[in-house]
């Protein structure tokens, strides 16, 4: 018999369920209980594009060291879906654990000899306790949480506190959930050896004041705090919950107490063309407006995004990235819209992109995007992805300073027009490429202009003159250069000792990257690391690349889109940049990054490495 895995606060549990069975809240309860014990966890939903009846998984990484990236490998499977039994069992690390419903006996051939089987008669206990079929189903989930608590040493009081909070005001629900949890706990205590499971939770103090939040809800909060008043959107996985959360928070925080009236407007548009059109109309008219979408939505929006670029209209687009068009891996994560967003639309266009690493930055960057969009008068993208957007992630708490003012940018007032200040809509008066604008309805006789694409001069008069076109395009270029100093700067993590090797990553790759770097340093492979947080790139990005012989560019797409952007925009030698690419739809893991980089360092070869599947 293989040695049983023994680990404290450092293992991976995977729940295999059928979607629509009510397992999601039970699984989250498990994760939250561990957090309440002071031990960091990072859960990930792995779900099909379907509502009921298909397999769904919930993978919880427990890491006392605070590693929040996906680890890879599974130490315990909670196998609640007979259909995926074989696959789930096969994934288990030798020495791992299988928790299953032992109500119906299974042949010995259904099990693996090198894993510890933990059978709990969940259905039998439920059937003996509950008569209502729905209750039998729901409480079976709570029962296995109780069983796990006993197996791993999670304090039942912690779970009971969570029930009390979740069902505040619905006391009967608290009692019935506590009862189900205790049924599972007691059965394990009374029927199994106390040391059957070597995976244990030990109370720690590694969570601190961190919060457990979803990126999409965080982006919505950023939009509320950042002053967005108009939201137009079209449902698309994995972004829909941004707009839905925005509506929920607005109802709570933006309803006028005296009149009951809304200080916001949300429209579910007929498609993404209309949603971005509404955002642009609202931005043109002076409101802070945003939309949330995913890759296919971006494709539809591109003509409008180009118009907003040339007509210089503030607009914010939260792009929660996923796979490609049609049935495009909608429930799987990717970083594959960089190029389509950076250069969206016909004509010479470039757009500002922000790359949040976690929910905290989803909040910060959505609020910042609303400021940047008005300051720069241009579309700004918040490039989130499914991994951040639809999973709860432990992160620093949201922060806001009272007294922080919104940057409404250069808007000429009626008073300024009245005293005769010169107004040319596309005139660069300040040398930063950013012109002044007026809002409709400002002044009875001054400041009105006609908004168009590119056929105009600096005073917004219709012009097809080549010189006018070129002057405008050069000013837009200057404006984009101005943006470099305004966007969030990259974050440098030095290796601590001299090295010729660097690594660049961005967005949701951050936690896996940090873990990989720590391991590589410990193994004698120090790398300086740079986490990009925005496009356009400040000069420090180019400096970083030039300061190293080779730089790994780690990203979650097939084509090395960030690498292309770096080569294209910074004019650096492509041979310096080594692509490390992960794009099977699952979040990148530290193990994948470590293996990829270690292979390259050992081999000393420089051709780009691609590996699709971890």
């Amino acid at each position: 018999m293989t040695q049983k895995l023994n680990a404290i606060n450092d293992f991976v549990v995977k729940f295999a369920n059928v979607n629509g069975s009510g397992s999601a809240s039970a699984n989250e309860l498990f994760a939250r209980a561990i957090l309440r014990m002071g031990v960091p966890v990072s859960p990930r939903n792995i779900f099909p594009s379907n509502i009921q009846g298909l397999p769904t998984w919930y993978e919880v990484r427990v890491s006392g060291a605070g590693h929040l990236g996906r680890r890879g490998g599974v130490d315990m499977v909670v196998a609640m879906n007979p259909e995926t039994w074989k696959q789930d069992l096969a994934e288990l690390t030798p020495g791992g654990y299988l928790l299953h419903d032992s109500t119906r006996p299974l042949p010995e051939s259904a099990f693996r000899k090198d894993v510890t089987t933990i059978g709990v008669p969940l259905t039998a206990i439920c059937n003996a306790t509950y008569s209502d079929p729905r209750q039998r189903q729901l409480f079976k989930n709570i029962l296995y949480v109780g069983a796990l608590a006993q197996l791993m040493g999670i304090e039942p009081a912690v779970i009971e506190t969570l029930f009390a909070r979740q069902y505040k005001g619905k006391e009967p629900l608290i009692a019935s959930n506590v009862k189900a949890m205790r049924l599972g706990r007691d059965w394990v205590r009374d029927n199994l050896p106390a040391d059957i499971c070597g995976l244990r939770i030990a109370r720690a103090d590694a969570v601190g004041d961190m919060i457990f939040a979803e990126g999409n809800a965080a982006a919505a909060l950023g939009a509320v705090w950042g002053g967005a008043t108009v939201c137009a959107w079209y449902p698309i996985t994995p972004s829909s919950s941004v707009a839905e959360a925005f509506e929920g928070y607005c109802k709570r925080y933006r309803t006028d107490a005296a009149t009951g009236k809304a200080r916001y407007a949300i429209v579910q548009a007929e498609d993404e063309l209309a949603s971005i059109g509404m955002v642009i109309g609202a931005g043109w008219n002076g409101a802070r407006a945003f939309t949330a979408t995913s890759g296919p939505g971006i494709s539809l929006m591109t003509e409008f995004i180009g118009l907003a670029y040339f007509a210089e209209i503030p607009s914010v687009i939260v792009n929660v990235q996923r796979g490609g068009p049609s049935t495009g891996m909608p429930t799987r994560t990717q970083q594959s819209d960089l190029l389509s967003c950076a250069y969206a639309s016909n004509g010479d266009t470039k757009h500002v992109l922000l790359f949040p690493e976690d929910p905290r930055e989803c909040f910060d960057f959505t609020a910042a995007a609303l400021d940047l969009a008005e300051r720069l008068q241009t579309p700004v993208f918040v490039m989130s992805d499914l991994d951040i957007g639809m999973n709860r992630r432990l992160c620093r708490p949201f922060a806001w300073e009272d007294g922080r003012r919104y940057d409404r940018g250069k808007v000429m007032t009626a008073e300024e027009l009245e005293v005769g200040k010169t107004f040319g809509r596309y005139l660069d008066v300040d040398g930063d490429g950013i012109p002044w604008r007026t809002l409709p309805g400002t002044h009875p006789s001054r400041g009105a202009f006609f908004t168009r694409g590119t056929t105009k001069n600096a005073f917004a008069r219709y012009s097809e003159e080549g010189a006018d076109y070129v002057a405008n395009m050069e000013r837009l270029q200057k404006k984009f250069a101005t943006a470099r100093a305004l966007v969030p700067p990259p974050e440098l993590s030095p290796a601590g000792r001299p090295t010729a090797w660097g690594a660049i990553s961005y967005g949701s790759t951050a936690p896996a990257m940090a873990e990989a770097l720590a391991t590589l340093v410990a193994d004698g492979h120090p790398l300086d690391a740079l986490r990009l947080r925005a496009f356009p790139f400040p000069d420090s990005v180019r400096d970083f690349i030039l300061a190293h012989d080779k730089v790994f560019v780690v990203e979650q797409n097939r084509d090395g889109q960030m690498r292309s952007l770096l080569v294209n925009e910074l004019d650096v030698d492509p041979a310096r940049l080594i692509a490390v690419l992960h794009y099977d739809g699952t979040p990148i893991t530290a193990r994948f990054i470590i293996a990829a980089i270690r292979d390259r360092l050992a081999a000393g070869v420089v051709t780009p490495l691609e590996r699709a599947v971890s």
């Binding site: 957090l35 961190m210 919060i211 457990f212 509320v224 705090w225 950042g226 002053g227 008043t229 108009v230 137009a232 925080y253 933006r254 009149t259 009951g260 009236k261 200080r263 916001y264 407007a265 949300i266 429209v267 548009a269 007929e270 063309l273 209309a274 949603s275 059109g277 509404m278 955002v279 642009i280 109309g281 609202a282 931005g283 043109w284 008219n285 002076g286 409101a287 409008f304 007509a311 708490p397 949201f398 806001w400 009272d402 003012r405 919104y406 007026t438 809002l439 409709p440 309805g441 400002t442 009875p444 006789s445 009105a448 202009f449 006609f450 908004t451 168009r452 219709y462 012009s463 097809e464």
Partner: protein, 351 residues
Amino acid sequence: MTHIAKPRLHHPSLTRNAVGFTRRDYEGPVSTLCAGCGHDSISAAIVQACFEQDIEPHRVAKLSGIGCSSKTPTYFLGASHGFNTVHGRMPSVLTGAALANRELIYLGVSGDGDSASIGLGQFAHIMRRGVNMTYIVMNNGVYGLTKGQFSATADRGSVAKRGAVNVESGIDLASLAILMGASFVARSFSGDKAQLVPLIKAAISHPGPAILDVVSPCVAFNNHKGSTRSYDHVREHNAALNRLDVFSPAEPVSVDYAPGTEVRIEQPNGTVLLLHKLAEDYDPSDKAGALAHIQARETAGMVTTGLLYLDPGRRDLHGRLNTVAAPLARLDETALCPGAAALAAINDALR
């Protein structure tokens, strides 16, 4: 196309309206459309309507799509902000603008290609959504800027300038607007200013989605024999249902018609519409009846014009979203940001 400014000198004897503007103040630069284009007549009617309605020009936002019709907002209301958006998508931009500032008057200008072909979806949805605006379609059944292709409103059997016969049936935007929920639907003819100007005034005073389908012949590509959108054809087949007089809240309502032939409709803002019936049996408040009548006349080869449908009771988009009275664009941090303490409470709930 070039920009030809009109001289800004005003003759001192020019009449001023109640808000202190002359008719010239509602004009724009010189039109660059073809001489005789129906669209220029509609532009002139808009100028006249806004002047007579005592609308301050800067309180109008004019938005258009792409095409000959969509170029016209340059040529009227020069003191208003304008926006030439992308082809077929003006309705969404106008919706967003209206959401941002409910105090302005929104004028959407489009054509039959822009609204019925590439933009049919947005056209339908802006009517359904109930945006408070006046939406004018300059409808000539043909693409002008790309030189003479049929549009989706062209009648079946209509003959193109180069002889091709249209085999598709035309889309009637007015009927579609009624079905989609527009609360003011009218049709007119660019060659009938007496009918058109009051309809524009009534549409502007209507507090909801108002659409005017204006048949506007294209002198360059669709004004020949065999076309159903030529000046001659429309004049011969114009079935006017009614005539409208519009009285602002301050004006006394004077009745010129024989008793029993007019209907008095009071708008929520106090404007009074006096509808003089020409077709005795036509009731513009009867949705099903209106649609049946329009369809029957169309089958007979006639173009029904006048006020086709009016639902004075429908709430607009802001009413349904229950937004505050102040424009959203003008709200500041104090009204919008819940602050640090509220965020700290959210953090606590996420632990």
